[in-house]
Symmetry: C2
Subunit: 346 residues, 2 copies
């Protein structure tokens, strides 16, 4: 069983560059969105506690099965821990054997940004040059790089209510060729922006953007509202624009549209990617990608890691699967000295 650890993902990014990784991963995600109907789509399996949630997100295209383990614990930051960590597994459907296990804390950050940028390629105006980013936490730099890699956006207007987050973002992005304005408010940040990314961390029903802040032709990339009780947009914005989602039943529970009536019309992004539904209908339209993250994006990311790391190296092997010489003689592994030596040496 292959193991792609944190160091292997860091090494991949260092070797080929973060924007190459993001652009290539966006390609894998787009390819899987195009064949969306081939996938088995289950609701994520969630175990809730007072502290947070632990989720298993499985999917399969009939050839490969993947799942991601991921948590969400808003209080972790106070203890110096991350609110979200994860790992993923890719298995062979024909044999049922798991073939790869990979870190998915960094990889989830990469695939979330790659999905946003892929969606924006279908939904934002072709002449989009400037992106506002509201919320400068763990996801913000990944979003900036993904939008430059996929859409060529290099002008950023950014804001966070916490000046320390803004300082971290500005320091991380220094010397990377972006033209960045740190705004004094969200309202100032969105002025003149063609794309607005909201990616705040606060778990509450917030109005990061109010209706009067969003002008004609803007594409909203709403990433931060991703669980029940956590939204970022005033609901009027959703009604003025056309809303695109990943998997409707999940987004009605977790996304911005949880604020709206259960039959509020939405379009699934895969329909746009596969040419079955129009994306942006004109330069003046407001488009909203109400992103919550879906298992197929993790499937694509794991497929990408496997294929790419096979080329650049960095994976190791884990002694995870007992392999007796005779499959019916599992006991031989623990029962007799020679059998143990034989099996462990194989």
């Amino acid at each position: 069983m292959l193991f792609v650890d944190v160091a292997a993902v860091v090494k991949l990014v260092e070797q080929i560059g973060i924007e190459t990784v993001l652009a290539e991963m966006a390609g894998y995600i787009e390819e899987d969105f195009r064949r969306w109907e081939d996938f088995e789509k289950s609701p994520r399996l969630a175990s809730h506690s007072d502290h947070g949630v632990i989720e298993l997100m499985p999917t399969s295209d009939g050839r490969e099965f993947t799942f991601k383990y991921v948590n969400g614990h808003p209080g972790n930051t106070a203890d110096g821990l991350q609110t979200v960590v994860g790992f993923g597994v890719l298995a062979n459907v024909r044999t049922g054997y798991p073939e790869m296990i990979a870190e998915m804390t960094l990889t989830t950050a990469l695939r979330t940004a790659a999905t946003s940028a892929m969606a924006a390629r279908h939904l934002a105006r072709d002449d989009a040059e400037t992106m506002a980013i509201i919320g400068l936490g763990a996801q913000s730099e990944f979003q900036a790089h993904a939008f430059r890699a996929v859409l060529g956006v290099r002008r950023l207007r950014v804001f966070d209510i916490d000046p320390a987050a803004t300082r971290k973002f500005m320091a991380n992005m220094r010397g990377r060729g972006f033209d960045i304005v740190a705004a004094a408010s969200a309202a100032e940040a969105v002025l003149g922006a063609d794309i607005v990314t909201t990616v705040t961390a606060d778990r509450a029903r917030n109005h990061i953007l109010s209706d009067n802040m969003v002008g004609a032709g803007v594409h909203l990339n709403a990433v931060g509202g991703d669980c029940p009780g956590k939204t970022e947009l005033q609901s009027d914005i959703l009604r003025r624009g056309e809303v695109f989602v990943e998997f409707t039943p999940q987004t009605r529970i977790e996304g911005e549209i949880q604020q709206l009536e259960p039959d509020f019309p939405v379009t699934e992004l895969w329909q746009v990617v596969s040419g079955q539904a129009p994306g942006r209908r004109g330069a003046g339209q407001i488009t909203v990608f109400d992103s919550v993250g879906f298992a197929i994006e993790d499937f694509s990311a794991l497929r990408y890691l496997r294929d790419r790391i096979a080329v650049v190296g960095g994976a190791t092997r884990l002694d995870m699967l007992a392999a007796p010489a005779d499959p019916r003689d599992l006991f031989g592994l623990v029962g007799a000295e020679p059998a143990v030596e034989r099996a462990l040496a194989s």
Copy 2:
């Protein structure tokens, strides 16, 4: 994140002995069955294909969350692969961080046998001395050792339709202090047995045991019928005895009782273990443990591995969870040379 690989489980068994492992693990399982109502019990999440099934089996007691990945691919043996392999994860509910990942091919064999023996301690006659085992595949030797470890049973009468399986079993069990008769048929094997364990591998509706083969006072440990379409017992046996199950909704789909009407009365084993229901009611009663395997047994097994391997050693550490110095600065891991070095060194 701790990693308990195949070698670590083999080493544990070698260091303290397989029967100590089985008896101690049975103790952990019994402890968790006693507090059954503390657990979150979800149906297993199954992904079916023409080749087999891949399942995720999660549970939580509010302090720890575990899940097992396990497959079932009957055709694998023809390719020299095992029909069932697995691994498990134990996570901290307070932080959501996964703390241990462990092989669960060997460990599932151990926990299945330990659960059978624990059930039999409550359901078999106290004076049980002889066990028949029908089906001498991968699980058979584990069952034999578990019943000796937990109930003191050392006389075995065994049968398999495949002489090669019988030879493998007899060779593995040589010199281990059992008194073993290799019978010429299932009917001959069960003669005089106080406990009958059925653990055949064929995925079909079989009648390994017919009604006239099961005498008064016998405890049936029915392990092999564990998925839809796979049963081992003639249904009349189930009606003559009292049937004990792990988790009723799952057993009605996967166990021997899938042959019966959906309201056929059963008792959940945890009720017996916790003193809320009687087990065996008299020396002449037929008792049936219709075992299919449940997530709480894996929870107990993972808890046991963690605790025991902390003492005897053998676990390693995996670089699975990205750990930026500032939790909001995930990008620092890939974005800047000094940050990468700082984080990887920590």
